[in-house]
């Protein structure tokens, strides 16, 4: 089957919103399956060759000084591609079983940027850090390059034959073959596996998530008869009580939830309304960091809190009586407070309780009981049973069956597809695996599991493969390949499975030979007829299609059925939780430098997992003499041994204010042993500590042993020992309602020479102390770029950091350099704790170049390498920079980043160099760099405006990478000279202030003070119970 017929006759396979103006584009670029040879091999295909050539040209043009590369003229250009112009394709990123719509930017045939698809309901154009960073993994040199059999390389065909032989042997011997796939939300994958197991009854297909948390699915199965996770809509919630649910942080749906949550966090003087979030938790999660009220609870009290809450709200119909029974007086009091808040919003059906995935099935049923009593359950309400996360059904039973089969020797062969049980499964599963005669792995990396396999086949990256994904609301997206597989001619995992099935039964799938055909056929036969006239082309163009048939009636609810579900048996003593990492999640992308170096939004730790504990816990472990900050800090970096019934790990300690006592939290995803050089030796494998739930543990201190922890922030409060610095401002909803915005007027230099408070100009533009001298009177005639950042919306999720890194070719510097304080991120998220150490609130202040009108960096550069543009940008001319670092010293925001070493070594570790954005110069060592407001995007917007006969860029046409990614929409960018632009309008917000306005540098970034939902008298953020 040719490319052409696959893509239909219109020659317009893909289109994005941006590209609509350019008319239909010829496609057929994406060879399905094995038609294209890999570019890493010595036999280079035409397309691969062109990709390399164009990439080399782009790099040569972009390089700062080195590298020197040969220019080879392009005799035949890439299909569809105009050199220098990007092409955008829609696709879908599957964050495990959550579908996020994606639009991928490609240049000269290589994907260089992932962003969200605005038409996709899950993420509405925004993107998470992992979604964007997955781009880097595409070009990871550590990916498996060719199939392996035993210890030697083999051909793809031979490798598949070898597996097919094992499958045939199993059939002959009357044994089973297991195909184990990662959790996904692909209907075609599910169907393909179903067809395979139907055609070969001795083959089983099992879904195996890295982190198995099926408690909610079990509860829903009992209560609603829905075996799956229901996705709540937080934009409908005005009061949220979370019980250890990190819905803004480690939740798979965090990207979705953040946008919905943020919609209710925009209070103004005229409409002083915002949601109230209470977080009862043992850890100090990202959600807790953004809470309006926190309740510190030991894990043993978490479900008791829930029970007490239910007793308050559901009354007689409560099913959590036994849970409530163990609640302490403090827990009960906290539950009463939370319940009163919930009740206040119950009349409008705007109150909801959320429960962490690791809490017991009983806890989830109790939460449903509360939510039902609050009126949150029902069609069109916060919890709508139509919104079920696909493929989220309980899996532990199937996995237990698989383990038992392997253990008993009934399984002759296992094919592990994109899963890594040797790394993340429990010990029993690993022991059982060892009894399987034939293990095959289809994986991106030669990881722990793949290294055990007799046959290992490289998997295709999501940007290299066809596929489908269904979102919780039924939206279907087709995953399109952007580039031919970079590794040895291997198709995507489903293609391997099809090839395998065809070896055994050539009639399998009839005429179809590739997954691409399977996908297209499925969409055309199963989706298009019920999608209101949508065509295959339209589906690819939009990136989403919503079949109309998915109208399921409201599920019947039987809350009392939840009463018999098991409750948790959390330890009352020292408990340990191995939670998903905010940067790496489950560790699937552990070999990704962008994610490894992404500072944890809460702890600011990079390149490590650690043992987080409260100050009091550190004292009781005798790591610190008392809970004073100076004593507690000495506990950091000491090494402890944490042992549970399943495993033992050594971890460095980091004291985390706000955690419950007698709890240790560590992160999953680290401690990889055989995946790649990036993640080698980083952290320890915390899966051995009963992943995903609290486990009883014993802790011993390794006396005298220390391990350095690389954090990007060393001072964590606004207080400097003599007062609180008014640099990251926060206020309460009460203040907003009263119209008391005095906090944003506050300056460090509160008094003038006469002892009187200094006068301020009008809000927004003129909010500065003194008139300018040298630069006063300059009129910005054209555009004048500016930004507004709403700290009330920003959760600190750090998506913007990766967006910036990807857009602006920011190198990864490594743990050693982070330890020295040399991370290169152009945007950082300053996180300040407020209040006391026991249960602090926090303020997150994204900090990037402020593009000061009166920039102190500009006048001190001796060679004029940093100058001011007529559009108000503070520009950095890399080629001119000699590296005196004077500008860095003189920057009051310390947002300039210096290339102390040659961090952008583009010649090494090919093909990582292909990830670079050709619009942005790579910086050589000795050169200063910093945020440019994505000047390359501004130029593109201006060219587009000019091509359309306009002299100005319209509001919303110029979008910075951080703004584009922000899940909360906290960043607004635009032309301050346009009085109607969003940036001009929001700049005038009452909460607006500019950081360090008293030193008169006139920044172009306005911040809106964070608002905490608290009465006016309370000044501290996140007041605890």
């Amino acid at each position: 089957m040719s490319d052409r017929s696959l893509h239909g006759s219109t020659n317009t396979t893909w289109k994005s919103i941006e590209e609509l103006a350019h008319g239909p584009q010829e496609t057929g670029e994406f060879a399905p399956g094995t038609t294209s040879a890999p570019i890493l091999d010595s036999t280079v295909s035409r397309r691969g060759f062109m990709t390399l050539v164009s990439a080399s040209m782009a790099l040569t043009a972009a390089a700062c000084r080195r590298p020197e590369q040969k220019l080879i003229p392009t005799v035949k250009s890439l299909q569809n591609a105009t050199p220098g112009l990007p092409l955008y394709y829609t696709s879908v990123y599957m964050h495990r079983n959550v579908a996020y719509g994606a639009v991928v930017k490609t240049r000269e045939g290589r994907p260089i940027k992932v962003k969200g698809n605005e038409l996709h309901a899950s993420n509405c154009g925004t993107s998470s850090s992992e979604m964007q960073a997955s781009l880097l993994s595409l070009y990871d040199p550590d990916r498996i390059r060719r199939p392996r059999q035993g210890s030697g390389p083999t051909s793809f065909d031979a490798a598949v034959s070898k597996i097919a032989d094992a499958v045939t042997e199993a059939q002959a011997a009357g044994k089973k073959v297991a195909i184990v796939v990662d959790e996904h939300c692909s209907p075609t994958m599910t169907q393909l596996l179903a067809q395979m197991t139907a055609a070969m009854p001795w083959v089983t297909a099992t879904v195996m998530p890295a982190i198995i948390t099926d408690n909610e699915a079990r509860a829903n199965a009992a209560v609603f008869g829905i075996d799956g996770v229901i996705v709540p809509d937080l934009s409908k919630a005005s009061v949220i009580v979370s019980v250890d649910a990190d819905f803004l942080g480690t939740d798979k749906l965090a990207l979705h939830h953040t946008g919905r949550w943020a919609a209710r966090r925009k209070p103004t003087k005229d409409n002083p309304k915002m949601s109230h979030v209470t977080v009862a938790e043992a850890q100090y999660s990202l959600t807790g960091m953004n809470a309006d009220a926190r309740v510190r609870l030991h894990p043993s009290q978490l479900e008791a809190f829930l029970g007490a809450l239910e007793a308050e709200i559901a009354g007689a119909s409560a099913i959590g009586g036994s849970l409530a029974a163990s609640a302490s007086a403090e827990t009960k009091a906290a539950a009463t407070t939370a319940a009163s808040r919930l009740r206040a919003a119950a009349s409008s059906n705007e109150a909801v309780v959320m429960v962490g995935p690791h809490l017991s099935p009983r806890a989830h049923a109790v939460a449903t009981s509360i939510n039902a009593a609050l009126g949150a359950v029902g069609s069109g309400k916060i919890i709508d049973t139509a919104n079920v996360l696909p493929n989220s059904n309980a899996k532990s039973a199937a996995l237990a069956q698989l383990r038992a089969d392997m253990e008993s020797g009934a399984v002759h062969a296992v094919v592990f597809c994109d899963v890594n049980p040797e790394y993340n499964a429990n010990r029993a599963f690993k022991t059982a695996m060892a009894k399987v005669p034939m293990i095959a792995a289809i994986n991106l990396y030669e990881d722990e599991t793949a290294s055990l396999a007799k046959v290992s086949i490289p998997a295709a990256h999501w940007l290299e493969s066809w596929g489908t994904a269904v979102a919780f609301d039924g939206t279907i997206t087709v995953q399109q390949p952007m580039i031919a597989p970079l590794c040895e001619g291997v198709p995507a995992t489903p293609d391997v499975l099809i090839a395998l099935a065809k070896k055994i039964n050539p009639a399998f799938l009839g005429e179809m030979t590739t997954y691409a055909e399977f996908v297209k056929s499925w969409v055309e036969t199963s989706i298009l007829p019920i999608s209101g006239g949508a065509t295959w082309t339209k589906v690819l163009q939009d990136g989403t299609v919503k079949p109309t048939s998915a109208a399921a009636g409201a599920a019947s609810m039987n809350v009392s059925a939840g009463a018999s579900l098991p409750a948790s048996t959390y330890p009352t003593g020292m408990a340990v939780l191995a939670a998903p990492s905010l940067a790496l999640y489950d560790g699937k992308l552990a070999n990704n430098g962008w994610l490894q170096e992404l500072p944890d939004p809460v702890t600011k730790i990079t390149w490590d997992n650690v043992a987080l504990m409260s100050p009091q816990t550190a004292v009781s472990l005798q790591l610190a003499s008392d809970v004073s900050p100076s004593a507690v800090i000495k506990a950091n970096e000491q090494v402890i041994t944490v042992a549970t019934s399943t495993g033992t790990v050594d971890l460095p300690v980091m004291v985390q204010p706000g955690m419950a006592d007698n709890v240790i939290v560590t992160q999953l995803g680290y401690g990889r042993t055989s995946t790649g050089i990036v993640c080698a030796g980083v952290g320890v494998n915390a899966y051995t500590l009963s992943a995903g739930s609290y486990a009883a543990s014993t802790v011993t201190v390794k006396q005298g042993e220390r391990q350095r922890i690389a954090t990007t922030q060393q001072h964590h409060t606004l207080t400097d020992g003599h007062g609180e610095r008014p640099v990251a401002k926060y206020m309460t909803l009460g203040d907003v309602a009263k119209g008391d915005f005095s906090v944003v007027e506050e300056h460090f230099n509160a008094q003038g020479p006469d002892g009187k408070p200094l006068a301020h100009g009008e809000k927004g533009e003129g909010n500065f102390l003194t008139p300018l001298s040298a630069t006063s009177g300059y009129k910005y005639k054209g555009h004048r770029w500016g930004m507004v950042i709403d700290m009330s919306q920003c959760t600190g999720c750090s998506s913007c950091v990766i967006a910036c890194q990807s857009e602006n070719n920011i190198p990864v510097v490594g743990k050693d350099q982070v330890l020295l304080g040399r991370e290169l991120h152009w945007i950082r998220l300053d996180r300040y704790y407020t209040g006391d150490m026991e249960s602090p609130g926090s303020v997150v202040e994204p900090m990037l170049c402020q593009h000061c009108e009166n920039a102190p960096c500009e006048n001190v550069c001796p060679v004029a390498a940093t100058t001011h543009s007529p559009e108000g940008l503070n520009e950095m001319t890399y080629n001119r920079c000699v590296g005196t670092r004077y500008c860095l010293n003189n920057c009051p925001y310390k947002v300039r980043r210096f290339n102390f070493l040659n961090y952008a070594k583009v010649d090494e570790r090919k093909p990582l160099d292909l990830v670079f954005n050709p619009e942005v110069t790579n910086r050589f060592r000795g050169v200063m760099e910093k945020c440019t407001f994505c000047v390359q995007r501004l130029h593109e917007a201006k060219w587009n405006a000019r091509d359309n006969g306009r002299s100005r860029v319209l509001d919303g046409e110029a979008v910075t990478a951080c703004q584009e990614a922000c899940p909360a929409g906290a960043i607004i960018f635009g032309d301050m000279n346009d009085p109607k632009s969003r940036v001009s309008m929001t700049q005038k917000d009452d909460r607006g202030f500019r950081v360090l306005s008293d030193i008169n540098v006139r920044p172009s970034v306005t911040y809106l003070a964070k608002v905490v939902n608290a009465p006016a008298t309370e000044k501290a953020a996140g007041a605890s119970h």
Binding site: R725, R822, V882, G883, Y886, F900, G926, V927
Partner: protein
């Protein structure tokens, strides 16, 4: 007015002065003086000298290796980081530039003020100036991220059509330091010409004769030569004089023009100049105490010279002490919380040890010089001079590191400590400095022969009516 007349007028005006100590002891003859000083050049190179030169050369080699390593690898081999863009590099630069100032002060200002006691020490002080500026230039050239582009800091016509940024204090630095080096080198060399001619006549080896001959530029000692020489020397002294004030003022602008609390202050120019003279005299002292012992020049470099220098150190030490106190006061008086905090942090923060080392060395230690007995105590003055050298280095380090490590936004605070590379480079600058000084002490007259003759006991009658004759005959 000729030099001689001027001199005469000055001396007449000071006839009230009490009986002064002799500036040259032992009443040597003119021939003795020449022989005594020139013989150092003629004498054989001793193993001790070679051993010392090997050690200092080794230090220089270590520093040059560290510089080479830095340039081929990147500034990242130093301990600098994102809040702290300058560390030992600029500390050393300011330190060495400061060291140089004593030489210029002694040779130019004391010359114009007719301080005759300067004669014995001006040559070595000037040499020290040049060597210190060489060290400073080494630091400033190597501290940039891309040192091979150093010439971009110079205003020259180029295909990029780019001027330097004249608003940047670093651009002013380039002018200040270059001017300083050029003028100091010229001043030193012009002063050397008569002595080089003396050596040309004195040395026996042909090669040495040739070298000294070329360097002495055909000096014959004619009246015409002396006349031109005196004028040139006077003009250069006049040009050098403002440099004593301007160079370190300009260096201080590197900080004052910055907007950081702790840097952005008007007291810096005078404070830096006083500190420079203070540190320069300390370094001269350190070197002279050793030189006069080793080369046995006690006859020429007398206790009176040393005592005078100690007096200057006491005075300038008090000035920097005043500046430290005034910085604190103004930080409080300004009402700026940023300023107040940075100074509290200086004295009580992470770098408090550096601050108090500085105060102890620079303010407390020179106080012993209130007592004449202590001013004339050779071991003590050596120790104090070392203290002051250390203290003045820490002064620069304190200014740079404490201000940068904790500025406005607490989230970006950091800490800085040097790596072996920076320490090696610092040792290396000492190696370069000492090696050059050793070579100078061996091959160039360490005391201005022609000038010292003018202050010999015989040439300096106590009765003022014979002054100008004596002066004239001395040449």
């Amino acid at each position: 007015m000729t030099v001689v007349q001027e001199q005469q007028r000055l001396q007449h005006s000071s006839h009230e002065e009490p009986v002064r100590e002799e500036l040259v002891l032992g009443n040597p003859s003119l021939r003795d003086v020449t022989a005594r000083i020139a013989s150092i050049v003629e004498s054989k190179i001793t193993p001790k000298y070679l051993a010392t030169l090997t050690v200092t050369g080794g230090m220089a080699g270590l520093g040059l290796f560290a510089l080479y390593y830095t340039i081929v690898t990147g500034i990242g081999v130093w301990g600098l980081n994102n809040p702290i863009g300058w560390g030992w590099d600029i500390t050393n630069f300011v330190f060495w530039i400061g060291i140089g100032h004593a030489g210029t002060l002694i040779s130019a200002i004391l010359f114009l003020f007719r301080q005759k006691w300067r004669t014995a020490i001006n040559r070595s002080a000037e040499a020290m100036t040049i060597f210190a500026v060489i060290c400073a230039l080494t630091m400033v050239l190597s501290h940039t991220g891309r040192p091979w582009l150093f010439y971009w800091l110079l205003p020259y016509p180029n295909q990029m059509q780019m001027w330097i940024n004249f608003r940047s204090p670093l651009a002013w630095d380039v002018f200040a330091v270059n001017t300083y080096f050029t003028v100091s080198a010229l001043f030193w060399f012009v002063g050397l010409i008569p002595d080089l001619a003396t050596l040309r006549n004195y040395v026996k080896s042909d090669i040495a004769k040739k070298i000294y001959g070329v360097l002495s530029l055909g000096w014959t000692g004619s009246t015409r030569h002396w006349h031109h020489y005196e004028i040139a020397y006077m003009i250069l002294a006049g040009i050098s004089t403002p440099l004593v004030l301007s160079v370190h003022s300009v260096v201080s602008f590197d900080f004052t023009v910055g907007i950081l609390p702790g840097w952005h202050t008007t007291i810096f120019p005078p404070y830096f100049v006083a500190g420079a003279i203070f540190s320069g005299f300390a370094m001269v002292m350190t070197l002279l105490v050793i030189t006069r012992e080793i080369l046995d020049l006690k006859q020429f470099i007398t206790m009176k010279h040393l005592e005078n220098m100690n007096k200057i150190m006491l005075a300038t030490g008090m000035m920097v002490g005043y500046a430290y106190a005034m910085e604190m006061f103004i930080a409080w008086y300004s009402g700026s919380d940023w300023e107040r905090w940075i100074f509290i942090n200086r004295a009580m923060g992470d770098y408090a040890w550096a601050y108090w080392t500085m105060v102890l060395c620079n303010v407390i230690s020179p106080q012993v010089y209130w007592f004449k007995k202590l001013r004339r105590n050779l071991p003590l003055m050596f120790v104090i001079s070392i203290f002051i050298n250390i203290g003045m280095w820490f002064e620069r380090f304190t200014i740079i590191a404490t201000t940068l490590h904790h500025d406005f936004l607490p989230a970006s605070w950091g800490y800085y400590s040097p790596t072996w590379v920076e320490i090696s480079i610092f040792i290396g600058t000492f190696g370069i400095f000492l090696s050059l000084f050793l070579l100078f002490a061996k091959f160039v007259p360490v005391i201005a022969i022609a000038e010292i003759k003018s202050i010999l006991p015989g040439a300096q009658p106590k009765h003022h009516h014979g002054d100008h004759h004596a002066d004239a005959s001395a040449h």
